[in-house]
Symmetry: C2
Subunit: 586 residues, 2 copies
């Protein structure tokens, strides 16, 4: 503190000076030319408009910022790092060049695979990666009790233990919002643990009435990132919720949320977040910089957009030394070319130049956590082709299954069909529009395998397997024949997880995700290429839709409407109960 204060007061030289920046003051909404002096990795002094510039004689390191706008580093208030399919270190390498310097990460996916060890891994792997990573304790692991198998069920004791971890800032999105609203004791006990600590409680709430929203907030939930309509966003802002305006890979609410912000005088209770962002988007389109761009495109005045990602986010998180370039704050700073495209020129973290022209300019050490070399695939016995068929007797069999419309994985319906029986199995391959889907439990070697018919994927040949399957991330396989399905599944067991596409007994594309079956060890550039190759392969095989991740990984989630397949079998997600596979003949 002494050197910082001495530099601020003018008694010692700064460590570094940024000269002639167009300073964007997130407090007063002014833009003026200023110089910034850095010491001890923090902001020592920012010149005021009427003041002389800082004297570069006193400091050897001067960075000229002429013509560029200086902003506080960007903050993502809600992100699942695992959705980028990268380790925290590679995620940091990917997002820092886009100006992100702080995130609040909910390690929801990795905790479904590793239990409490998942958040411990994230805390460890996120240390010393330049990006400041705060953690939110996943509140809903698994998504619904009993519907599927994951590594561990989080109850109040586990939540309490995780909330006490030093980097934990919040209870993560309370997705079981109906459980909270209906005062489910298990959910209330979890919320109560967070209330006791005074920590932030983040929400996730869709399609509720204002009375239900009030009940949810009365429980202590403070925010939401799921506003898909203007009226919903307006209702939440008026209610005093913090609207975490989302611009993810698939869910992009910023345009409609921008309208709500404009209507309601740009309230302070609004931030930006990405939630789920895929590697290709992170590489080519960006992160919070993209959200800023989209917000401005949607009509948010540039400086109000910047406030969302900086000052408002810091107030929301309750972290005092970020979100503003005031004296004493961390010298996390972004220089952009303009306030329309937010093209990030330089990124400073702790006063150190960490990215330049879209490229990382600092070394981020890779994690040495043993988790990253652990194969988490824990399947009972060896998979055989018999695991990927539906046994049947007689001439035909009537089966329940899932049906997709237009390849949209977010809405599936129940389909009941009669199939021919051949060689003691339902002959799903006979029906052009159907494939076989299998979900294999992979955490605790229970031996659970569920198989069911699926209509409307577009798959015409071969098989595709994956271990990214929200939220329990069991091994799923879609295929036209059991041999290719077995090979695809077996390949992922070898790799420790990922995606594999198999045709005629041969792996035609694969993306190894050996870290928990969720994350690659490769940097974003390599991973994005692997994902693109996988996408080409699965599109060749007939899968419709632009993103295989989008298409495949939401198939199992038992909180999405209406019918899902988990390792325990078919599940009616509306009535919240299992469905039988076999249906008596009509």
């Amino acid at each position: 503190m002494n050197h910082l204060m001495a530099a601020a007061a003018g008694d010692e030289p700064f460590d570094c000076i940024l000269k002639n920046a167009q300073f964007v003051n997130v407090h007063t909404e002014e833009i003026y030319q200023a110089d910034v002096g850095i010491a001890n990795r923090r902001i020592a002094h920012v010149t005021q408009p009427e003041e002389n510039g800082l004297d570069s004689v006193d400091c050897a390191v001067v960075h000229d910022c002429t013509g560029k706008y200086l902003l506080p580093g960007f903050i993502d208030t809600h992100v699942h790092i695992e959705s980028g399919m990268m380790t925290p270190a590679n995620f940091a390498r990917a997002v820092i060049p886009h100006g992100t310097t702080t995130v609040l990460a909910d390690p929801h996916e990795v905790c479904n695979v590793l239990g409490v060890e998942g958040i411990e891994y994230c805390a460890e792997a996120a240390r010393d990666i330049l990006l400041r990573v705060f953690l939110a304790v996943p509140s809903c692991v698994p998504s619904i009790l009993g519907a599927e198998s994951n590594k561990m069920t989080f109850g109040a004791p586990e939540i309490a233990r995780m909330l006490a971890m030093p980097d934990v800032l919040a209870l993560g999105e309370m997705m079981d919002y109906m459980g909270v609203i209906q005062r489910d004791p298990r959910m209330l006990a979890i919320v109560d643990e967070a209330m006791k600590t005074g920590k932030l409680i983040q929400g996730h709430v869709i399609d509720v009435t204002s009375r239900q929203l009030s009940a949810y907030m009365a429980a202590g939930v403070e925010s939401d990132h799921e506003s898909r309509t203007l009226s919903d966003a307006v209702m939440k802002l008026r209610a005093g919720m913090t609207l975490e305006c989302r611009y993810g890979s698939n869910a992009q609410n910023v345009p409609v949320e921008a309208e709500a912000l404009a209507l309601l005088n740009y309230p302070v209770n609004a931030t930006l977040c990405t939630d789920d962002r895929e590697p290709d988007d992170l590489l080519r389109r960006g992160h919070i910089d993209e959200a800023l761009r989209q917000a401005v495109r949607a009509g948010v005045p540039p400086i109000k957009a910047v406030q969302l990602a900086t000052r408002n986010a810091a107030l929301f998180l309750g972290v005092k030394d970020i979100g503003s370039l005031r004296s004493g704050a961390r010298a996390d700073m972004v220089l952009v070319e303009d306030l329309r495209d937010f093209s990030v020129q330089e990124v400073f973290i702790g006063g150190r130049l960490c990215a330049e022209n879209g490229r990382l300019a600092a070394t981020i050490p890779s994690s040495v956590s043993p988790i990253e070399s652990r194969n988490t695939m824990n399947i009972k016995g060896t998979l055989t082709r018999r695991d990927f068929v539906i046994p049947a007797e007689g001439e035909s069999v009537r089966l329940n299954g899932l049906s997709l419309r237009d390849g949209d994985p977010f809405m599936t319906t129940l389909v009941t069909t009669t199939f021919a029986v051949r060689d003691g199995c339902a002959a799903l391959g006979d029906e052009a529009d159907f494939v076989t889907m299998a979900v294999v439990e992979r955490h605790n070697a229970t031996g659970n395998i569920a198989v069911a018919p699926v209509r409307g994927t577009g798959l015409r040949r071969g098989a595709i397997a994956g271990t990214v399957a929200h939220d329990s991330h069991n091994l799923f396989v879609l295929g036209k024949n059991p041999d290719d399905m077995r090979i695809a599944a077996a390949r992922l067991v070898e790799l420790g997880g990922g995606f594999a596409a198999v045709e005629n007994g041969r792996v035609v594309a694969e993306v190894p995700l050996p870290v928990c079956g969720l994350m690659s060890l490769h940097p974003v550039e390599v991973l994005a290429e692997e994902m693109a190759a996988l996408k080409r392969a699965v599109n060749d095989m007939g899968i419709v839709g632009g993103s295989p991740v989008h298409m495949l990984t939401w198939f199992c989630l038992p909180v999405l409407p209406r019918v899902r397949l988990t390792d325990k079998g078919l599940f009616d997600t509306v009535r919240q109960k299992p469905l039988p596979l076999y249906v008596p003949a009509e």
Copy 2:
């Protein structure tokens, strides 16, 4: 939580409904008609504009708010309760009818008298008084080391112990700002204790350069309430400090601060506070309601003014359940007639009607703390008339003393004068414009008594004594003759402190302040009358200026310019060193 949530969701009746209010939404800056449902002393639901009103069939207690504006309870972010010269319970009784429901109190005065026990007393006395009292740990006790005697010196260990108390939210105003800026190790150690806890650090900083301000903020100080000029307020807001806009009894910065807010787009980093507010003002003019009125009069749009006292204050304090009428928040609410005069009609605390038409409508129990019956006057031996003269030999003596200009106690200068000597004493009474001032140490019975001449008080006869004497609150006496001075001082020793005016050996007015010599046991109405009588008496005796408190109680403070008298003698507050009383003849 269950009943609150059930009422919000519509599953159980509310405890109380406020109908047809003009709801002032501090998040969106809208005003619309709404109904508010209360349960478990918290806000359960506020109807949204497009929603039907709440059904009064479900709830027996309905409060009609037609034509009135509903606001969150007002928050004072920086106040010394002792300046109201009332106990916390009586302070609550005085300010609640004015709409104040939460204060952050710095028990700075009482800690100079009681040490750590002072904040413990405040915490105890502020329990169950309806008003929510958060405490700030006094950072500068005494104001300057060595310049005067108080009960106890607070160092880092005491500060750490007090910061750990449950109601403590902040380190109170860091008044030794030059100590901090110049990196005095003792001050930095105190600030460091607060930094370790992550608690708020409040400031107090006057007439510094922007570089000095940066050094102060770099230490961790977050706010200030001393902006007396537009340029100073602008500098602080731009720097990202929170401007605690002050409207006290004597220091009223709101008008100039309002100008700064208007220039800088009404930044969130601004609140309202009163700092020091005297009983008469609290009774007749109000508290934060008066600050709101003055802010609007100075041009702040009404809803922006309301945000200062509610949402902004809550964000600044980091307290989530106040400052907004969102679901889950405490049902602390104020109904006002309009948003110009802020005439407070009703005040609800925890959903309960606590004040109506300016009168308390709830019972606040008086404290049973033994502190309130302890006489804190601890003077060595018995005072005699010899204690109130300046011994001298020869025909004349040359003495240093204090001089006031226009009765303004905030600026005193050194005056050196030759007095005749009679009966072995300097004959101060001979000079019409001079009086004798004495300061008697009263905490640890050290026997310290300092006496010096004072010019410019206007006092023409008798003596005035007091035990409210910032910051150490020793016993001071001003007088034209030693007999009246002794009687006045002796009377205060009997009373346990307060003010006494004596003429011709008779007490002509007195205000007993038996609690620590700072606070009355009487309610504001009685105390204000006593103070008015005292004021009449001292004005009769020649003291100029409207407020005897203002006039007398700042005489000893060794951080005000330029010369002060403490129990240790004359003190040059600019050069920070003692001054001799006796000066060699020219």
